[in-house]
């Protein structure tokens, strides 16, 4: 049934090239995307529907309807109508503009041009008109329009290079190759137009690294895999052109499938408010019922006799019906507990805080002229409650720039060293050694110039440009170049380098490629002298096992050096070589050939052979490359973890790289008791690994079946005793994308989460964009904690969208992350200020605001309840209508807004210096059920004082001229005046940071109150509108009576004094950290202005870093087969070479950067000479 209903549910996709009619049968989605929500027609209904889904709006609508019924209306209808319409309109305008921009960006994307093969020629077509099955042509540096099957390209063998940064965040180039049958098509339009292959493949899905399908063409079947597919969102690099056939278009593309749905984000305070509104409504209903019953009884007992003066004229009413009507009337009167102005004020406050973020000079990055930007204005206080930060790695924590920093050659360290004072001192001079002809040093750089997978290319200006696959390799080759060993060019059989000015060509005899097990790569070359050498570089632990035993001394020395480098967060790599004799090599080569020719167990055989030859190595030394962190990352991370914020790294990168960066930026430390690595490939393996990790964590004596319960319990316990029952020490968890997939799909998800909760840090590597979002969702769902995701690329979009708060790093190439984010700034380090200063303040202010606002409105409204007992429960308001209308929007709105926007408990500097101050937000201590209860009690107390003191005083009193003053109007004015004064005094007590604005607003409000009072009570107003202003002259008579002022004074004293007492005792008995720091701040202010004292210590650690080759296996094969070598002599037939060679790719930029940094290092040496 379900299937039949969902006809579109694809099981398999069948696409025929160049045949639109055929493909139309399947009704595949076209290439148009729309992320917008509304169009002109649907805007009003959908938007209104969405808005009235908010509890508050629905509540006010309900009240408005009630007020329109004359029988029960006790307040005029416009008191609710005008503000409600205003609020709805404001929100609607905001939504409309947002959607307008979405339309615009959709249009921009949809209208991009691409060349489509139609009617046997290339035609320009908008992206949105591209259909499944079309063949399109892409040029260098173009965005890919849809998911394509690569048919042919300008490069030999149908290769093409793509950058997938938008998809998975990896910036290294990836290679795709076309099937050989299709790559023969080349750029021959007529042949391409005749291409009529049919692709049968999987249905659209979100797996970026998997594709299975079959191409049937000319009665031959060709299997297709991910290597043949170019995904939408990629950028074509270093490839002149390519042709591809559209397989998935628009919403079916993997990019779109990976982008989570745009969700309307709410803060936890918002959600809490929704609950509170319901509670309050329940409370109102209770009050209403009490009063309604009272009314029924009163009408029955007293009102019946009183009816001669006030009979019921219409129909047959009885006391029960009267009670029923009274119930609704009181609901209307008492609704001011949650006035609309509350919501408006909250929005205004958040807007103010957003502006403060935009204006913050300390979050402005002058390097790229980018100020911080609050793109969403509704989440600010959530910034003060963050518990989990999910960070992307590349571009967020790191700059994605590799620099060759140091090396150890033959037991000597070269490069700059930071001594304790942080000054750079040279210890040896590398250039000198090279000049002097130290053979080891020369061999070292020769190795760096020879043993790699870099491709070189001369651009138009004759500059040598390297195409690197991984930036670290680029850094090494560039370093060698700067020290005089320039890698010039390579062919499948040779490598040419320029050694200190002389060209030397090495014969490449064998290429022992990298893979994850080997963790090393080697080349075997024959130098011009005929010597055969094996050059090897790789992870130190692996390589050290292969050394000649006689190298023990050097090994331990180098090992120490590597530890030292690693301690500074550098990526290290051991370098070794071996001299081979001809005969031995020939034998080995023969065996390799045999191995290659064999069919079964080929890989094992080859691996054995590699092992065989890579032994008895002579150690040359080690290199240390810095994967440059963004500025201030370490300080930020340290400070955030002091603030009890857990930082998780979610990256598409490899495990080694991720761990390395984890150490580099102090997320992982050596102090940690254990680091669990989960990298199992199957569900059972993962389960086993998790179980082991947990056993390790707790010791065997505990069982963990009740995992989640534990987790939550612990959270509560953390308040009182830190980790008393459970984990002592710090742990970290490292999990692989594949294992994560198993963990998330199966029932071990909870175990994983439990383990992750216990750990201080979690690093997830090799995760897809969607997995990033899933991890965030997992934490969100089970931990009820506020999550923040920060990232820079398109691969972070789904995570940014699904976290409570998404932060985008702006100033990068792609804009997707920023567009999807709620906040954006240019540097990771600003996160510290965003959270610890802006977030903390926002939360603090919002909580204070809410406390005061509820207090104020309870005090204001409940007076009606008390009065009900004295006015026959007749729904008579205590104050006059004008006061009720203006109280929340004029008399008391601005001071509380000023407090909500400007208040500060401790200074920004102290917020940064004492990250522990952040904790109340995470535990939600400042506004929770308890606080709300306290503020309700406070409000009730105030309302009692405000009502009963005047009541007692008015009971039997006469004015100074003997006239009675116990009339309703004087009573109303007295109550209103004391209420305004009491809440203003309370405001003054609550405001802890009195700026000029607070002064103006607080005093101004009181003055305004009296001005309006005198106006509405003036003769003139009464003369014009006698029915609207019946309080004429009241203020003159009431407020000139001494006894009324005495009443007001007593009311104020009685309602404020207890508060002062409780506050004083609270600070005295249970001072919070913020109180202590305020105290300190005060004493220090008197003494001297103080600077931040935190010293920026470098991490010192003894950890051995396993080098992460940031590139993939298989490049060696490409090189030796010569597939990726450009055929130099015959120029490509299409005349595209210009674009080809003019193109400056990102990689080249990168190389330049690396060159710059390294050359500066080189220059330093020269100066020393």
């Amino acid at each position: 049934m379900f299937c039949s209903k969902k006809k579109l549910l694809e099981v398999e996709r069948v696409v025929k090239a160049n045949d639109r009619e055929y493909n139309e049968k399947f009704q595949y989605a076209d290439n148009r995307i729309h992320t917008s929500k509304y169009n002109l027609l649907t805007f009003l209904p959908i938007n209104l529907f969405e808005q009235f889904q908010r509890v508050a709006n629905a509540y006010f609508l309900f009240l408005l309807i009630l007020q329109l019924i004359p029988e029960i209306s006790s307040l005029t209808w416009f008191t609710t109508f005008v503000p409600l319409v205003l609020v709805i309109m404001m929100t609607a305008v905001k939504d409309a503009t947002d959607d307008y921009f979405r339309h615009k960006s959709d249009d921009q994307v949809n209208n991009r041009q691409s060349e489509v093969l139609k009617d046997s020629r290339l035609q320009n077509e908008k992206w949105m008109n591209v259909k499944v099955g079309d063949i399109i042509k892409l040029e260098n540096n173009q965005f890919v329009a849809a998911d394509l099957l690569l048919l042919s390209s300008s490069e030999p063998h149908g290769l093409c290079y793509i950058e997938t940064a938008e998809l998975d965040g990896e910036t290294n180039l990836k290679v795709r190759h076309a099937l050989s049958v299709t790559s023969e098509l080349g750029a021959d339009i007529s042949r391409l137009a005749r291409f009529d292959g049919t692709v049968v493949c999987e249905a659209p899905n979100n797996k970026l690294d998997k594709f299975t399908g079959v191409l049937t063409w000319k009665n031959c079947k060709h299997p297709l895999n991910n290597e043949k597919i170019i995904l939408r969102g990629c950028i074509l690099r270093n490839t002149g052109w390519c042709f591809g056939m559209v397989i998935f278009a628009g919403p079916d593309t993997k990019l779109m499938q990976n982008s989570g749905k745009t969700k309307f984000k709410r803060t936890s305070i918002d959600r809490f408010m929704n609950i509170l509104v319901l509670w309050i409504f329940g409370f109102l209903v209770c009050l209403g019922i009490i009063l309604a019953i009272g009314n029924s009884i009163w009408e029955n007992q007293v009102g019946g006799q009183f009816r001669t003066f006030l009979f019921w004229n219409e129909g047959e009413k009885n006391s029960v019906f009267s009670g029923f009507l009274t119930f609704w009337s009181y609901i209307i009167i008492l609704n001011t507990v949650v006035p609309i102005s509350l919501y408006v004020s909250m929005e205004v406050i958040r807007l103010g805080h957003s502006y403060f973020i935009n204006w913050d000079r300390k979050m402005y990055y002058s390097g790229k002229v980018i100020p911080a930007e609050a793109r969403t204005t509704t989440l600010n206080e959530e910034l003060g409650q963050v518990e989990y930060v999910f960070s992307d790695k590349t571009g967020t924590l790191t700059q994605n720039v590799m620099t060759f920093k140091k090396c150890s050659i033959n037991g000597r360290i070269y490069g700059e060293v930071n001594d304790d004072l942080g000054q750079k001192t040279e210890i040896t001079k590398l250039m000198e050694s090279i000049k002097q002809g130290d053979p080891k040093v020369r061999e070292f750089f020769r190795l760096l110039a020879v043993c790699h997978t870099v491709m070189s290319e001369e651009n138009n200006a004759g500059q040598l440009v390297y195409q690197v696959q991984s930036p670290d390799e680029g850094a090494l080759v560039t370093a060698a170049r700067n020290f005089g060993f320039v890698f010039k060019s390579r062919t499948p059989e040779t490598i040419t380098i320029e050694e200190l000015g002389t060209l030397v060509t090495y014969q490449l005899l064998a290429f022992l490629d990298f893979n994850n097990v080997r963790k090393r790569m080697s080349v075997i070359v024959r130098n011009p002298d005929g010597q055969i050498k094996l050059y090897s570089k790789g992870a130190d632990i692996i390589l050290f096992e292969k050394l000649l035993p006689s190298h023990e001394d050097l090994r331990s020395l180098t090992s120490d050096h590597i530890s030292e480098f690693a301690g500074e967060g550098l990526r290290t790599l051991a370098i070794a070589y071996r001299d081979l004799d001809d005969k031995y090599f020939k034998e080995w080569q023969k065996m390799l050939e045999d191995a290659n020719a064999s069919t079964d167990e080929r890989d094992e055989w080859i691996a054995e052979l590699y092992e065989e030859i890579e032994r008895d190595l002579m150690l040359l030394g080690a290199t240390a490359v810095e994967d440059k962190l963004q500025e201030g990352v370490i300080e930020t991370v340290t400070s955030l973890s002091l603030a009890n914020i857990k930082i998780w790294i979610l990256t598409g990168d490899k495990q080694e790289t991720a761990i390395n960066i984890g150490y580099a930026c102090n997320i992982l430390t050596d102090d940690m008791n254990d680091v669990f690595v989960i990298s199992g490939g199957t569900a059972t393996e993962v389960k086993e690994e998790l179980r082991k990790a947990k056993e390790n964590l707790f010791g065997q004596n505990r069982s963990f079946s009740n995992g989640l319960v534990d987790c939550e319990k612990r959270q509560q316990l953390e308040l009182s005793s830190v980790g008393e029952e459970t984990v002592t020490g710090e742990y970290a968890l490292i999990i692989n994308g594949h294992s994560l997939a198993h963990a998330l799909e199966s029932d071990v998800g909870n175990d994983l989460l439990e383990l992750a909760c216990m750990c201080k840090t979690v690093v997830c590597c090799r995760v897809t964009p969607l997995q990033k979002a899933q991890v965030v969702e997992l934490v969100k769902k089970h931990r009820h904690a506020v999550t923040l995701a920060i990232g820079d690329g398109a691969n972070d979009v789904s995570m940014i969208k699904s976290a409570h708060i998404g932060v985008g790093i702006s100033g990068q190439e792609g804009l997707q992350a920023v567009l999807a984010s709620d906040y954006s700034f240019a540097q990771f380090r600003y996160l510290q200020r965003l959270l610890l200063v802006h977030g903390r303040w926002s939360y603090y202010r919002m909580c204070k605001f809410l406390y005061y606002f509820f207090y104020k409105n309870f005090a204001f409204t409940l007076v009606h309840f008390w009065f009900g007992f004295f006015c026959g429960f007749s729904a008579q308001t205590v104050y006059d209508q004008w006061f009720i209308t203006l109280f929340n929007i004029v008399y008391t709105s601005l001071p509380v807004l000023a407090m909500g926007i400007f208040d500060q408990d401790v200074s920004a500097q102290n917020s940064m210096d004492y990250p522990q101050l952040y904790e109340p937000g995470q535990l939600n201590l400042l506004f929770n059920k308890r606080k709300f209860f306290i503020c309700v009690v406070h409000g009730i107390y105030t309302s009692l004082v405000i009502f009963f003191i005047p009541y007692g005083a008015f009971y039997d009193v006469a004015g100074e001229d003997g006239q009675h003053i116990a009339d309703y109007q004087s009573f109303a004015v007295t109550l209103a005046t004391s209420l305004v004064i009491v809440v203003s005094v309370q405001m003054a007590l609550d405001t802890s940071y009195w700026t000029i604005i607070n002064h103006v607003f607080i005093w101004g409000s009181i003055v305004t109150y009296f001005c309006i009072l005198f106006t509405t009570h003036s003769n003139g107003m009464f003369g014009v509108f006698p029915n609207q202003f019946p309080f004429v002259g009241n203020v003159w008579h009431s407020l000139t009576q001494k006894c009324i002022w005495l009443v007001i004074l007593l009311t104020t004293v009685a309602s404020v004094m207890p508060v002062v007492m409780f506050r004083f005792l609270k600070v005295d008995l249970y001072p919070t950290r913020s109180d202590q720091i305020r105290q300190q701040q005060r004493t220090e202010k008197k003494a001297r202005p103080r600077r931040s004292q935190r010293s920026h210590t470098r991490r010192s650690s003894s950890r051995r870093s396993g080098y992460a080759f940031a590139h993939q296996e298989g490049y060696g094969k490409l090189i030796t087969s010569g597939k990726n070598m450009r055929v130099q002599s015959p120029p490509p037939p299409t005349g595209l070479e210009k674009t080809l060679y003019n193109s400056t790719s990102r990689i080249e930029d990168l190389c330049k950067k690396t060159t710059d940094t390294v050359s500066s290092l080189g220059q330093d040496r020269t100066v020393q000479l």
Binding site: F870, D956, E960, H964, A972, V1053, Q1076, R1082
Partner: protein, 355 residues
């Protein structure tokens, strides 16, 4: 390049105290000294004020006579609406043991009369009372128009239920000589009520001016015949009417009825002696189980203040004192304990942040 620099400038946040959240500010802080001084000061103030108010409330001389039961026969008569034409008077003698000096005010006081009901308060027409439009009765439900669709003047429940007893105080020098105490019926309303809120349709010949309207159903006489003695005191400007129209806040209330005209015997106030109230009993209260009484009272500096305010001040003062002593005790106990631990605490705090 130029464009870039302009862009640079436009995106650069200004360094203003406001935008960088560094406005100069005073940080409100309650130091122990400040709190204690505030508490002690306000405690002292409240206590003294309370005692002072109690004393002055005590100095007020007051006579209240509840005549609901005393004039029981009249009350019964009034319960039957058919007897509204019959006049019922009753006389209540009382002895003033001590003379009431100064200005003496006479009030009537009603118990259990709800002038503060929602529909009751609304049931009046300010436009009519201003004589803007005598026929503007739409707000006056349920007393808008008579059976013959003639609008009431004044309309509405408030006006209709006006208190209409006549109370005359006489001073009985002896059993034969009864002197009627001279009372003023002017100056008992608020100035704004008399001159702004209420207006007659014209200065004279009110009968004509009120043509086209009819008297409220419970009234024996039309609005322009309220005071037969003083033609100025008629129509909407009748003082008793204006006083009644100022609705009371609570079901028990007193309204000013007359004030002593200090001439002849009464130049100093009311001398001690025998008095009697001669009441023409018109206003029915037993119907709604209410009561009514007549009150004679003098004033003090703060008007006719009651004991409550004084008591409330005294209690508040006493509580404030108690609280401040308790706080003082707690504070010093803590201070002693803190002295030993504070050093350690601040150290720990600093250490933590530096870790």
């Amino acid at each position: 390049m130029e464009r870039r620099s302009r862009l640079q400038l436009s995106r650069l946040p200004d360094i203003t105290a406001m935008k960088q959240q560094q406005l100069p500010a005073y940080q409100l802080h309650f130091s122990a000294t400040m709190v204690f001084s505030i508490f002690f000061a306000s405690g002292v103030f409240c206590l003294f004020m309370g005692i002072f108010l109690i004393l002055s409330a005590k100095s007020i001389q007051k006579v209240e006579i509840n005549y609901t039961k005393t004039c029981g026969n009249c009350a019964k008569l009034r319960e039957d609406a058919f007897n509204h034409n019959k006049i019922c008077t009753c006389s209540i003698p009382f002895v003033l043991a001590k003379s009431m000096e100064g200005n003496v005010f006479m009030y009537y006081k009603l118990y259990g009369f709800y002038q503060n009901l929602y529909r009751y308060i609304l049931s009046r027409s300010n436009s009519q009372l201003l004589s803007k439009d005598l026929k503007a009765v739409e707000d006056c439900a349920p007393f808008k128009v008579s059976h013959k669709e003639i609008p009431f003047a004044p309309c509405g429940a408030i006006a209709n239920s006006m208190f209409n007893d006549t109370i005359i105080l006489s001073y009985n020098l002896n059993s034969s000589i009864h002197i009627q105490v001279p009372m003023l019926k002017t100056g008992i309303t608020w100035w704004t009520d008399k001159y702004v809120k209420f207006k007659n349709p014209g200065a004279n010949n009110l009968t004509d001016k009120f043509a086209g309207t009819t008297k409220p159903p419970y009234w024996p006489k039309p609005i322009y015949e309220l005071d037969p003695d003083d033609p100025e005191n008629n129509g909407f400007l009748n003082d008793d009417f204006i006083v009644w129209m100022r609705t009371a806040a609570f079901p028990t209330f007193k309204k000013l009825y007359r004030r002593l005209h200090r001439i002849h015997y009464f130049i100093e106030g009311l001398p001690a002696g025998n008095y009697s109230f001669n009441i023409t009993y018109n206003f029915p209260v037993t119907k709604f189980q209410g009561e009514k009484s007549v009150v004679l009272s003098t004033l003090t500096w703060s008007g006719g203040s009651s004991l409550f305010l004084g008591l409330a001040y005294t209690v508040t003062g006493a509580m404030t004192w108690l609280a401040s002593f308790a706080m003082l005790a707690i504070h010093f106990m803590l201070k002693q304990r803190k002295a030993s631990t504070s050093k350690w605490q601040s150290k720990a705090l600093k250490g933590q942040s530096r870790k």
